[in-house]
């Protein structure tokens, strides 16, 4: 019996058709995976379902009853619950407060806290989602926060649970915990829509897979009948080949960190006494769950923060006061984690973003003041051609570029000066397959030319296939480097959760 029926949903934004005549159904007790690349229309569809957008055409019904379009309130009332990729929790409120937030009558005289607590505890027990109701959300780990998000949705008596990329922030072990929870939920008769682009997870957890490409459904298959290659092809539209690492002998040491610590506003340091070596012709991968100090390491190597102690050496020379300009002038190519937030200024033109790191160089400006716009435009046209940036031209606003083309623009800026060290922080996050292959090929080509590359990623598969060496980051500390093939995904997953292979015991951390 289907609890959710999506019929012929069509939605366009201007000339872009985000959803093209999409029909789906979800049965009670079923996990339906929604697979698709960035921009395939997954989020638009879920936003229509959840009432954030109104569809141009089509209808949605729950338990046979038509859902009024464009009303989030009605969707929640009908039992649709959504767990967003970026949690929507207030850190300074308790778990209980977060869960009941928005469910109470605004004009009620008093809160029924004990009733809420009883309901929460009953639910937590029923679904095996243990939480402490009175602890502040700010003190919870990422996995626990996700549990609170799920409870928040269940508290509103959801019967259709939508999870948007729920595993992006979890360790492999936490992911297994989440999957166990999902199984329990479906056993109780809930329907789950699981949005993801990670094929192995979809194969592990779902009953059926619906694949979206360019706004349209390219197929709905039973998971038992599916395999990786088939799903990937349905998602991308053609056979997927990613570049492979070719053996190369490592060269001289390019970057060396010795005993580096970086302190933040937290009681524990962001980076704690780390040692790291990156050689020419070598890609070193940093694995780890998001928020374990990767950002601090990236800011350090981007020149944004200074180490509290320890030394950073480039080509054997210790760096003093680091700044972004210094790093660029020393031949460091930097690919930032979030291209929208810190990679480009979206409202500025393509050519302006290409020159942003070299504004005061003699090629770009007279006397570090007067911008040589004709020269900059010519150079931009060259790089657009060379790096295959699809845009209307140098004068186009950068925010109008697709994610992949924006990343190519950043690659052009970072790599065109032929850097000897490259910091690539999540360089393929959110890109489609074609762009991923392009970025990875460029990185491998830079390695071939002799650059040393530090690749920070949350995607273990990517790291395993691209890196000569891996280190695992946990609570601001780095493991000893190892060759990816020498460990299994499970072993690396344990290291990401804080276990140390040398002792076999959980590392004792001050938190």
């Amino acid at each position: 019996m289907s609890i959710l029926e999506i019929k012929n949903i069509t939605k366009s934004f201007g000339s872009l058709v985000a959803n093209d005549n999409i029909s789906l159904s979800l049965d009670a007790g079923e996990i339906l995976a929604l697979l698709g690349e960035n921009g395939a229309g997954k989020t638009t569809l879920m936003n229509i379902l959840f009432g954030h957008y109104t569809a141009d055409k089509g209808s949605i019904s729950i338990d046979g009853e038509l859902l009024p379009p464009g009303s989030t309130e009605a969707a929640i009332k009908a039992g649709v619950g959504m767990v967003h990729q970026h949690f929507t929790l207030a850190d300074n409120l308790s778990v209980l407060d977060n869960i009941i937030l928005g469910t109470e009558n605004l004009f009620a005289w008093r809160q029924d806290l004990s009733g809420a607590r009883a309901k929460l505890e009953k639910m937590a027990e029923e679904f095996g989602l243990a939480v402490k109701p009175d602890i502040l959300v700010g003190e919870l780990s990422v996995g626990e926060r996700q549990r609170v998000e799920i409870l928040k949705v269940l508290y509103r008596d959801a019967r259709v649970l939508i999870l948007d990329e729920p595993t992006a922030v979890l360790t492999p072990q936490e992911t297994e915990g989440l999957f166990a929870t999902l199984k329990k939920l479906t056993d109780k008769g809930l329907g789950v829509i699981f949005i993801s682009h990670k094929l192995n997870e979809i194969l592990a957890i779902s009953n059926r897979v619906a694949v979206l490409r360019r706004g349209a459904i390219t197929g709905i298959v039973k998971t038992v009948d599916a395999d990786r290659a088939m799903l990937a092809e349905m998602m991308v539209g053609h056979k997927v080949t990613r570049p492979r690492l070719e053996a190369a002998a490592a060269g001289a040491v390019v970057l060396q960190l010795s005993g580096v610590s970086v302190s933040g506003n937290t009681p524990t340091p962001l980076l704690n006494n780390i040692d790291l070596e990156v050689c020419a012709h070598e890609i070193v991968g940093v694995a780890g769950v998001a928020g374990n100090g990767q950002s601090a390491l990236a800011s350090l190597l981007s020149g944004l923060t200074r180490p509290a102690s320890g030394t950073v050496e480039l080509h054997g020379e210790a760096l003093g006061e680091v700044t972004p300009n210094l790093m660029v002038s020393l031949g460091v190519g930097r690919i930032p984690e979030d291209r929208h937030a810190s990679g480009v200024v979206g409202e500025m033109a393509v050519w302006e973003n290409l020159i942003s790191e070299t504004l005061k160089s003699s090629e770009i400006s007279h006397g570090r003041f007067w911008i040589k716009k004709p020269d900059a435009l010519k150079r931009t046209e060259q790089l657009i051609e060379q790096y295959d940036v699809r845009c209307e031209g140098p004068l186009q606003q950068t925010k109008l570029l697709s994610g992949g083309n924006m990343q190519k623009l950043i690659l052009a800026r970072a790599l065109s000066s032929d850097p000897s060290f490259i910091l690539a922080n999540q360089p393929v996050r959110g890109l489609d397959e074609g762009a991923i292959a392009y970025v990875q090929t460029q990185l491998l080509a830079a390695r071939q030319r002799g650059a040393g590359i530090l690749l920070i990623s949350e995607d273990l598969d990517e790291l395993m296939s691209l890196c000569d060496k891996l280190v695992v980051m946990y609570h601001g500390e780095l493991s000893a480097p190892f060759v990816p093939k020498q460990k299994t995904v499970q072993e690396i997953g344990l290291m990401m959760a804080g276990h140390r292979p040398e002792t076999g015991q959980e590392a004792a951390y001050a938190n």
Partner: protein
């Protein structure tokens, strides 16, 4: 109601938007005129005539737009860097103070040098007073809206103290005003009749120079980048704090020039009422101009016309001059809304 971005914005739509907005503001304000018991069309005709209808009216409108151009530029450039300088009023008085201090006999230069000299010291005074709020912002994250705003009152009280006390002109028959600017320092009149003075040329030149700076130089690039996305600017190696401090100096300097131009051009001496809120109206000018330096010129002329015309209107029919403030406020709101509507469309259902 849903708001969706438009795929592309046509030039026609972008150009028409402010005009339609101003018309809408006139329609909205006609309600107030009816309320005041005056005929709407005649009132607007009188407003128009009072602002532009004669040679005298026209020169008055232009004269009054000069300080608005300076303060409008001051707000526009600061807002571009997301430095919300609300203190142009105070910086204007700082410029006026500097012009008075140096221009009433302390320094005597030939006219060709004296006028630029007063402009420079006025700009310096206006810029330097911003040092306090800007350093509080860059180093201690103190909100500049509060500090620049409150600084206005401190400076106004200082001016009041000076012209009631140590700087009071003994020849002024007891009026609270400072001594006159020496003849060499007075901005020449541009026309034999009327009050239009050479401050206009300085204002137009300032608008042009700010435009050139924003469009063609590294400084302008840095201001735009810091304002639009400080994180990306910092990542690219632009020094955020230096950029904000430099922008604040330029902004305060421009506001200071407004003070010099009023003291050395229009009045000839410092009083406590050289500015009826030019610093604050400058913010409206900048908003109307959508922070574009050249668009500040027509925006300042428009607001000046509204104020001058409203004076004339209120003399002719019994409507309070406050209608001008309302009209300016409604115009700014309408323009902001119309600009949003050129970029987004609203869907009702």
């Amino acid at each position: 109601m849903q708001i969706e971005p438009r795929a592309n914005v046509s030039v026609l739509r972008a150009g028409l938007a402010p005009i339609i907005a101003v018309l809408a503001a006139l329609v909205l304000c006609s309600v107030l005129i009816v309320w005041a018991g005056a005929p709407v069309l005649e009132s607007y005709f009188l407003l128009f005539k009072g602002a532009l209808g004669s040679r005298f009216a026209l020169t008055e409108t232009i004269t009054r737009s000069i300080p608005l151009m300076f303060t409008g530029l001051a707000a526009a450039i600061a807002f571009r860097a997301k430095f919300y300088n609300i203190g142009a009023e105070g910086q204007l008085y700082c410029g006026a103070l500097a012009a008075t201090y140096f221009g009433t006999g302390l320094v005597v230069l030939p006219a060709l040098l004296m006028v630029p000299f007063l402009m420079i010291v006025g700009a310096l005074a206006g810029g330097l007073i911003l040092i306090i709020p800007v350093l509080l912002k860059t180093h201690m994250k103190v909100d500049e809206v509060v500090t620049t705003l409150l600084l206005n009152f401190i400076i106004l009280l200082l001016v009041s103290f000076l012209i009631e006390g140590p700087w009071k002109d003994p020849m002024a028959m007891g009026w609270p005003q400072a001594a006159s600017i020496i003849d060499e320092g007075v901005l020449p009149l541009l026309m034999s009749k009327g009050r239009l003075h050479a401050g206009l040329l300085f204002a137009l030149a300032a608008a042009f120079l700010v435009w050139v700076m924003m469009r063609f130089t590294v400084w302008g690039y840095e201001i735009k980048a810091v304002g639009l996305n400080a994180k990306a600017a910092e990542f690219a190696g632009i020094r955020i704090n230096s950029t904000i401090i430099r922008t604040a100096m330029i902004s305060g300097g421009l506001a200071g020039l407004a003070g010099v131009s009023e003291v050395a051009g229009l009045k000839g001496y410092l009083t406590l009422d050289i500015s009826p809120g030019f610093g604050y109206t400058g913010i409206a000018v900048a908003m109307l101009a959508q922070l574009h330096p050249l668009a500040v010129i027509p925006a300042a002329l428009f607001l000046s016309a509204v104020y001058v015309g409203a004076d004339a209107m209120s003399r002719a029919v019994a409507i309070p001059t406050y209608i001008a403030d309302v009209l300016v406020g409604v115009s700014v709101l309408c323009v902001l809304i119309s600009v949003m509507l050129t970029k987004f469309k609203i869907r009702w259902r």
